[in-house]
């Protein structure tokens, strides 16, 4: 089975790097699965879960909160501002995040910003569903 290189990089450290068979990404325009020899695409990510299929066939799930994926034929790079292995994520954390965003939304009078924060809340709630909490 063909493989490609997958790098998952956070601003403070590299979170994952290695050869993989497939990566499933939560793109803003919809979920997508990347296999080797994918056409070059640059996409933004929403809040969600990245599923990595490693060479051994075993899977690995990483929670990601926004970022970018730079997809090429033989490598994929994901730049994420905030991310954590799925085991470290818990519903309380997400709830707190949602609550905080709602507070921010209510505090602002800027309409565009409001819209943006609203979208973020929807994404967080979706992510919560995906993680089935």
């Amino acid at each position: 089975m063909a493989t490609f290189h997958f790098d998952f990089v956070g601003p403070e450290r590299t979170l994952y790097s290695g050869e993989v068979q497939a990566v499933q990404l939560p793109g803003t325009e919809g979920e997508m699965t990347v296999l080797p020899k994918h056409a070059p695409v640059l996409t933004t990510l929403k809040v969600g879960v990245i599923t990595v299929t490693e060479t051994s066939g075993s899977g690995k799930r990483i929670y990601v909160q926004g970022g970018f994926a730079d997809i090429g034929p033989d490598s994929v790079i994901v730049l994420a501002e905030r991310a954590a292995p799925i085991e470290e994520v818990n519903p309380a954390m997400l709830d707190k995040e949602i609550e905080q965003t709602e507070l921010d939304r209510d505090a602002t009078t800027d309409l565009a910003k409001r819209e943006q924060l609203n979208a973020h809340i929807v994404q967080l709630q979706e992510a919560k569903k995906v993680l089935d909490f």
Binding site: D7, V9, G10, P11, E12, R13, T14, G27, T28, E29, A39, P40, V41, L42, T43, T44, F68, D70, I71, G72, P73, D74, S75, V76, I77, L79, E81
Partner: protein, 297 residues
């Protein structure tokens, strides 16, 4: 001529100072290692971000639709200087060399008839610049609360800068920090933030590479990606500068404290010699007095 007691006091005081400088040196060495590790860990993100951005922006530069963060506001009148320094002193010329570079730039810009605004990060930079540029400083953030430097802090600063830019408060932003070369060498550096200075679109680190640029697809759209990527890039640049600064600060402190410890050692040696000589002279003097007293009888 100082008395023996004075000399003894002076020696003890220098000795305790030496102990402090030595401890500070060791603490700085440990912190330096941590700061260097953090800088190393943050490098891949910054590199890949720069590669992706360079790749992406290559065909947009100069275009009509290019975001303002990339192309600038079109004017060159008001400059914002973002000066990053440490919160603490006792680290040699670290803070003052950054402040001096920033002040030099500010004077030059003022000489060209441009308006200068200053945004200081770190207490020392503010202290050093506020005497000369009281009215120019528009904001000051201390680092003290957020130690060690993390990405959230950097993106907070970046957001503030962008908010001011969007409000039309300045046209060009320049970041001042100290680049870490080695323990004994830190170079105060000026880096332009807005309009963004981009690496050439070599795209070595980019997955897609420059060659396949034409065939690249974008989701949602090229402009939309660029407008979200640019503020992030700004945060990354600030974060990188803060990390470099943290390493430089500890490096500068380490070498400053090393020489302070050595100077204290030298001083102790000299003072001990004077002390011993004085003591010897007093004994001799007393002996002479006793002997001549006995002879007179």
């Amino acid at each position: 001529m100082p008395s023996l007691k004075d000399l003894r006091n002076r020696i003890t005081s220098v000795k305790s100072t030496q102990k402090i400088t030595k401890a500070m040196q060791m603490v700085a060495a440990a912190k330096l290692r941590r700061a260097q590790n953090a800088a190393e860990a943050g490098r891949p993100y910054a590199d890949k971000m720069a590669a992706t951005l360079g790749n992406l922006a290559g065909n947009l530069v100069g275009g009509v639709g290019a975001p303002k963060l990339l192309s600038g506001s079109g004017a060159d009148k008001t400059h914002l200087l973002v000066v990053c320094t440490a919160d603490r002193g006792l680290c040699g010329a670290f803070n003052s060399s950054i402040a001096r570079l920033a002040a030099k730039h500010a004077r030059e810009l003022q000489g060209q008839g441009k308006t200068v605004k200053i945004f200081t990060v770190g207490k020392k930079g503010y202290d050093l610049l506020r005497r000369q540029f009281r009215s120019e400083i528009i904001e000051n953030i201390d680092i003290r609360g957020t130690r060690p430097v993390d990405y959230d802090f950097a993106s907070e600063i970046a957001e503030k800068i962008i908010a001011r830019f969007d409000a039309g408060e300045f046209d060009v932003a320049t970041l001042f920090y100290s680049a870490f070369r080695s323990v004994i060498s830190q170079i105060p550096t000026a880096q332009q933030l807005i309009p963004a200075e981009l690496p050439s679109a070599e795209g070595e680190n980019s997955a897609t590479g420059a060659a396949s640029n034409a065939a690249m697809e974008f989701e949602p759209s090229e402009e939309a990606i660029l407008t979200t990527l640019l503020p992030k890039n700004l945060a990354v640049q600030v974060y990188k500068a803060l990390l470099e600064n943290a390493a430089s600060e500890q490096g500068a402190r380490m070498s400053a404290m090393d020489s302070a410890t050595r100077n204290a050692g030298e001083m102790i040696k000299k003072q001990t010699q004077i002390y011993n000589r004085t003591r010897q002279a007093m004994i001799t003097k007393e002996l002479i007095e006793i002997i001549s007293g006995a002879e007179a009888l």
